[in-house]
């Protein structure tokens, strides 16, 4: 068997079990691997990888172990009773959000977290894509709760509002828009989407189960957009889950929020307005170096988590948290920008220099304006050095 046959075999073995873009990514990796090793070491590489069947099995199992509930669910989701009580106590004690916050958010999460005591049999999500009508679909259409649409009509506006799911947005390999919706382990509560007049809408229906076992639940909305695609307005909200916007893209406004989970961005973006909010989790913006993300107006807020920003050029930037730290690494040197940084109980650092509990600099015309406040954590402002 030569490498072409090997890779063709591998692709056909994976094609029915993983989403197309993942298969492409895997084939890409191993094609490059073979090429780097050179034709003379082809046999050696195949021996090291094992047969296509063995490799495919290993990849699918690994992926299922990653996605499957028990070992792979981020710790944040496996909230223990004592943790909730501790947090509830802390919130009442220290923040003015107190009662409202507890009733609205923690109350609901608390209910959901008190899962049935008996062990539920975990059903693996079967990775088979079900063809559907482009433009509209629901996980209710698929027996296994999994739908994948590789080429959606193009859209400029995104409205995602779901009660309980991780939402992620990435760039695909080509010019396609694709959407993957997974509803695993939660009876009812389907995820639905529609694309109409350039607007993508994703929503969820009410779950039948009132007390789902969080460990058995795997619910995701994964959206793929072409690199550099220009969007108008984007609003993404999930009540329980993470929001990850990691697509190189432009947008007029990006509004990303979750009640319980983190909000992250790992790619370079350009936006006039960026709002990221989490009640309980961290806010993280970084693009791993290169050109900075360009944001005219950024508001990053969380109650319990940290706010971390790397390699961003912002016109106005506001960061707030009650219990966490704020770390801002911006394109400009702090001496060139206006800032107002305060903490009630922590420390404020500017350019690696301790300024006690507040630091203010005004009057630089046309310069960025950075405002940050935390009650219990530290604030730091530095130039991003790559």
């Amino acid at each position: 068997m030569d490498k072409e046959t090997y890779l063709r075999f591998l692709r056909s073995l994976l094609a029915t079990r993983l989403p197309e873009r993942e298969v492409e990514d895997i084939i890409r990796y191993y094609t490059e691997y073979f090429e780097e090793a050179g034709p003379e070491r082809e046999k050696e590489v195949m021996a090291s990888l094992g047969s296509p069947e063995v490799l495919a099995k290993q990849i699918v199992e690994q992926r299922q172990a990653e996605e499957a509930p028990a070992p792979a669910v981020p710790q944040k989701r496996r909230v223990q009773l004592w943790q909730i009580l501790l947090i509830v106590g802390a919130v009442i004690f220290v923040t003015r959000l107190g009662v409202k916050f507890v009733v609205n958010t923690v109350g609901r999460v608390f209910q959901e977290a008190v899962a049935p005591a008996e062990t539920t049999v975990i059903e693996q999500v079967d990775f088979v894509s079900v063809p559907g009508t482009a433009g509209k679909g629901s996980t209710a259409d698929a027996d296994d709760g999994y739908i994948y649409f590789p080429d959606l009509p193009a859209f400029q506006t995104v409205k995602i509002d779901v009660d309980f799911a991780d939402v992620s947005v990435y760039n695909g390999s080509g010019a396609d828009f694709a959407l993957e919706l997974v509803n695993g382990g939660l009876e009812g509560g389907d995820l639905e989407f529609e694309v109409e007049n350039g607007v993508l809408t994703v929503s969820s229906t009410k779950a039948v189960e009132v007390f789902p076992n969080l460990d058995a639940v795997d619910r995701r909305v994964s959206l793929t957009i072409p690199e550099g695609h220009a969007l108008e307005d984007v609003v993404i909200h999930t009540k329980l889950g993470d929001v990850d916007w990691s697509a190189v893209s432009e947008a007029r406004s990006l509004d990303l929020s979750t009640n319980l989970g983190e909000v992250t961005c790992y790619e370079r973006i350009a936006a006039q307005e960026l709002e990221m909010h989490s009640d309980m989790g961290d806010i993280y913006v970084s693009n791993g170096g290169g050109d900075p993300s360009q944001i005219s107006d950024a508001k990053l807020t969380t109650s319990m988590g940290d706010v971390s920003v790397y390699n961003v050029s912002a016109g106005e930037l506001t960061a707030e948290t009650s219990m966490g730290d704020i770390s801002l690494y911006i394109e400009q040197d702090p001496s060139e920008v206006n800032y107002d940084l305060t903490t009630d109980m922590g420390e404020v650092w500017v350019d690696n220099d301790l300024r006690r509990t507040s630091a203010r600099q005004e009057g630089r015309e046309g310069a960025p304006s950075i405002t940050a406040h935390t009650s219990m954590g530290d604030v730091s402002l530095d130039k991003y050095e790559g």
Binding site: D25, I26, R28, E32, Y33, E36, S48, I59, Y284
Partner: protein, 104 residues
């Protein structure tokens, strides 16, 4: 017999190599194979996961008419590496105490 690396240790080894500079999949595998008993298929899921977690970024570059995907460590990756180094020091100390403690 050989001892198997646990997932966090493998993460740490990958991040440590990337901390020396960005590199591509094959070179990374070769580098680790010099010291460790890993196969050609060990690193793909590790790299994919670390990328998903924001510990590394990828960049495609042309090399002799074909594409090479380079992996580079991020700030979050450096933080993770430091954390794992700390954990490893503690762990190594404990195992040394138990295994080698009474032998000198």
């Amino acid at each position: 017999m050989t001892l198997q690396l646990s997932a966090p240790l493998l993460d740490a080894c990958v991040l440590a190599v990337l901390a020396e500079g960005e590199t591509y999949g094959y070179a990374l595998t070769q580098r680790l194979q010099k010291e460790l008993d890993i196969s050609g298929s060990t690193l793909y899921p590790v790299l994919r996961r670390l990328q998903k977690e924001g510990c590394l970024t990828v960049r495609d570059r042309q090399y002799q008419g074909r594409n090479r995907r380079y992996y580079a460590i991020t700030w979050a990756g450096s933080d993770r590496l430091e954390e794992l180094r700390g954990t490893w020091r503690g762990f190594r100390g404990s195992v040394d105490d138990i295994l080698l403690g009474g032998t000198d």
